[in-house]
Amino acid sequence: MSTDDLIDTLSTNLPQVRRLRPPLLRAAFWLMLAVAVLSLLAISQGIRPDIWDRLQDRSFVVTLAGAVLTGITGVIAAFMLSLPDRSRKWIALPIAPLMFWISHIGYQCLTNWVSFDPAGMTLGETTRCFATLVFTSLPLSVALFLMLKYAVFVRPMIVALVGGLAISALTAAALSLFHVLDASILIVMWNLGTAVFIVGLSSLLTRRYIGHLRGMPFGNIG
């Protein structure tokens, strides 16, 4: 197909499209969704019993604040980076809170998959941790993917990793309020793994989509 033919194809039967809302507003929508999901989790699981003692611990508060700020700045950065004309420098936004967060990150959830007690072998706290993080981060990942799916044409890997980091941070912050064990490392591994998987899948689908666009007869491109 020649370029002129392609232009004719693209401009035939052109539908009206809705311009995206400003990135900060869309980031705020996603953060509200995250608050809703994490509130449901709080209602279903209950706040950990020693929460007041933990809130007296300066290191716990710093980690919690670091995670929340990493989540908020990370999701803002992801929405900014997803737009072609915004600077790559937005990637630096979550770095400072991330430093706070990872300086106190915990790995306990990696070490307690199965527990042995007099009654026999049972599923450990890690398994419960893992289930919680899957149920929390999966809807948030899906929502973020749907809101940023166009980024696959622009900066797919950076957006997915920064978005994955934001989801990890918010999930870790919420889980530290519900679970006795610190699950941060497990959460980061899961979410960044999910992000890379989503990017791989999206890149594959995008290549097919572009091939499909090229082979489309006139008037069928929306």
Partner: protein, 214 residues
């Protein structure tokens, strides 16, 4: 046409170029007025105005071609990447904010597609091996009995291509015609023949590459 939503720091809108100006416009936009015009055309395209959209794509194509020519030498590669950029613009036209300049948005997309094309070509060339002529062992075609089998395989693979690509590859590669001759015979334009041949070779390469691995 006047700009309905202008931000304070942005230049006033001038008339969008006429069709004649579009044809003779320089490939390189050198003023912010071009940016404003394109911004307005894109805003109209987002509202579903097909005429404005067509005009925008026609106007930006030479600019994209000149941008691509800075990094690519092969005209076919340039045309391919221009088409990729146009399709990307089409797919993510919702991301353009009319309150922001158009050119940074456009060039960011163009650079991304260019980088992707260069990367994928580097990956492809790393897999391919250049021929140095030592493969022609026999001067007499008769002892080259393997050639007949190869010809059958090529014929089979060509027969599986879409009709346009089949015709292009038969005329240009198997019958070794020039682009002009092939264009006269087939009635297709030279760029269309080039694109069809490029795609046919890519499909054939995929077929044989997969075939040799399995």
């Amino acid at each position: 046409m006047t700009r309905d939503t202008g931000s304070p720091g942005r230049p006033q809108l001038r008339l969008v170029a006429t069709s004649a100006e579009v044809v003779s416009s320089p490939a390189e936009p050198d003023s912010s007025s071009k940016d404003v015009d394109w911004s307005i055309l894109m805003a109209r395209a987002q509202a579903g105005d097909a005429v404005s959209y067509r005009r925008l794509l026609k106007e930006i194509a030479p600019y994209l071609r000149s941008l691509a020519a800075r990094y690519r030498r092969n005209p076919q590669d340039i045309e391919d990447v221009v088409q990729e950029i146009l399709m990307t613009i089409h797919s993510i036209r919702t991301t353009y904010d009319v309150n922001r300049p158009f050119l940074p948005w456009l060039t960011a997309i163009a650079r991304r597609r260019l980088v992707d094309q260069i990367r994928s070509q580097m990956r492809r060339s790393a897999r391919e091996q250049s021929m140095n002529g030592e493969e022609d062992v026999f001067a007499d075609p008769r002892p080259n009995s393997e050639e007949t089998a190869d010809q059958h395989r090529i014929e089979e693979a060509v027969a599986k291509l879409p009709p346009v690509q089949q015709q292009a590859i038969r005329l240009l590669k198997l019958k070794e015609m020039s682009l002009k001759e092939a264009s006269l015979i087939s009635g297709a334009s030279i760029p269309a023949l080039k694109v069809a041949t490029h795609r046919a070779i890519k499909s054939l390469r995929d077929t044989f590459f997969k075939g040799s691995r399995s």
